[in-house]
């Protein structure tokens, strides 16, 4: 699976709520951020958790979000960010 995004790209986390083993935190779904880096490609944990191969490997990105975007009541520095590693199939 080739990498669709590059550092600096604006992305949005898919707002989906399927069952299963999901590494994308609930609270970040639907939020927009910026790709900070490509971390590499790894077996898909959603498949690996179900005794399947996890192939093809999925690109994993570190995505940067503004804290004030994620938490409406955030009172820290407005420049504070949150970085989360998210698999490509959760980004659009």
């Amino acid at each position: 699976m080739s990498a669709r995004f590059k550092p600096g790209d604006r992305v949005r986390v898919r707002k989906a709520y399927p069952l299963g083993h999901i590494r994308t935190p609930f609270y970040i779904r639907g939020h927009g951020g910026v790709v900070e880096r490509l971390c590499g490609a790894f077996g898909n944990p959603e498949e690996l958790a179900q005794m399947r191969s996890g192939e093809p490997k999925q690109p994993l990105y570190r995505v940067r979000f503004l804290q004030t975007d994620v938490w409406p009541a955030y009172r820290g520095n407005p420049g504070d960010v949150l970085e989360i590693e998210i698999f490509q199939h959760w980004l659009e």
Binding site: L19, H21, P25, F26, L48, M51
Partner: protein
């Protein structure tokens, strides 16, 4: 609190929920906890053996714990429960074998 969560949010997926202050404490591992850790490592196959479970299965079966069990259990209690569940799912052991072994050990303990 689970009933107030939106559908699709697992009990374990609690990031961002109010939880009060986090108090870091030092923790000495008990012998059985070290064994559980070693067991998980060996079952993952990274020491050269067959892969009998992935870390993702470990996580999946921890996430499947009922919320009250998840809260009540310690870190390695969750691990050993999840490892056991995975071994049953993969057919490494059967529920019947497990039950009989537990019975046997319980009797041994009472003597």
């Amino acid at each position: 609190m689970t009933s107030e969560l939106p559908p699709g949010r697992g009990h374990h997926d609690m990031g961002g929920l109010l939880a009060g202050r986090v108090e870091p404490v030092e923790h000495d591992y008990a012998e059985w906890e070290r064994r559980v850790d070693a067991l998980r490592l060996l079952l993952s196959g990274i020491k050269g053996g067959r892969t009998l479970m992935t870390v993702d299965e470990l996580r999946k079966n921890i996430e499947a714990l009922p919320p009250d069990a998840y809260e009540r259990m310690s870190y390695y209690e969750r691990w050993v429960t999840s490892i056991t569940q995975t071994m049953i799912q993969r057919g490494v052991i059967t529920t019947d074998e497990l039950g009989r072994k537990m019975e046997q050990i319980e009797k041994r303990g009472r003597r």
